[in-house]
Symmetry: D2
Subunit: 101 residues, 4 copies
């Protein structure tokens, strides 16, 4: 993910997009991409959502990419390491939701 982060830094610097990339704007963009993922599944049954046609699957992969891109940019402008944050969250969740014995 650090390679991805660096690629995105270069991409935005070359286009002078950093001025638009406040955390406020990036969370909006992130939530819009998350909704585009939701859109692919809104009328599907849970079963259908597990068996995507190849072209649909490619579109979903594209939306997953968009969410990851904005998430990486958001974490970067805030100086947060997303992988480290996720690892800490899993530890917290393991305490909050102990596995059945």
């Amino acid at each position: 993910m650090t390679t991805l982060r660096d690629a995105l830094r270069d991409f935005c610097a070359a286009r002078d997009w950093h001025r638009y990339h406040t955390p406020k704007n990036l969370v909006m963009a992130l939530s819009v991409e998350a909704a585009e993922l939701v859109e692919h599944f809104q009328w599907a049954t849970p079963e259908e959502s597990l068996a995507l046609a190849p072209e649909k699957r490619a579109e979903v992969a594209d939306e997953i990419a968009d969410v990851l891109i904005y998430l990486t940019e958001l974490a970067d402008v805030l100086g947060i390491d997303p992988i480290a944050a996720a690892r800490e969250k899993i530890v917290k969740n393991a305490v909050k939701y102990p596995p059945p014995l």
Copy 2:
């Protein structure tokens, strides 16, 4: 991210949560976490969103973690590599939005 993916597989297997983790349900959970990120910034000015107090920043890191966790799980059940998808998307975006000369 593959380490994160494997940790999440173990976490869900230990709790028998896989039966809830259809793509349909996971995109819903992902969008809810994205909205919890939005909630932190909804009344902030763009400037305020760049200067978070430490405790607020920790809460935001937690929400970033939640989005990354559900995104990793979603990509996993669909057999999609999110980093590879993001890398391909950046190439597409570079064609769609060429940098100014």
Copy 3:
């Protein structure tokens, strides 16, 4: 809003869409339409968001319509009166956030 509700009932009945309109699917569709509203404002400054060009304003009106349509359908399948619910919520909010003296 009851006229709107009745028009939507007829519309869906004529197309046999009721079988798709479970609360689960309708909240997904509602959140997607809410995100389409967000998309119109994601890169705008707060000031720009107040001064929409006429064609943009028409597009925003269309998205507001979509949110209201799915909200009306959701409330209908759940047997909830949205106007009455909003009125009760304002009373609760008035207690929670008393006006300054």
Copy 4:
């Protein structure tokens, strides 16, 4: 809905909240409330989503109220009549999705 709109104008004026209520901020708040609706249904099966327990149903009514409140405020600051917009949208949808013969 005009009575609701007027009640919300008074409510916000008494608290001097209008300065926060730019369209940009209101669409964010609206999308957050839409996600709180999604949260109630994210792990439910479509069938379970149709048969809510009374206390759950009351919580959902509360979230429906929140969405309607922000939608009314957003439409008001933009000078849009949401009921008229919805009516026009239904006419457009009837052309786009003609009923089966």
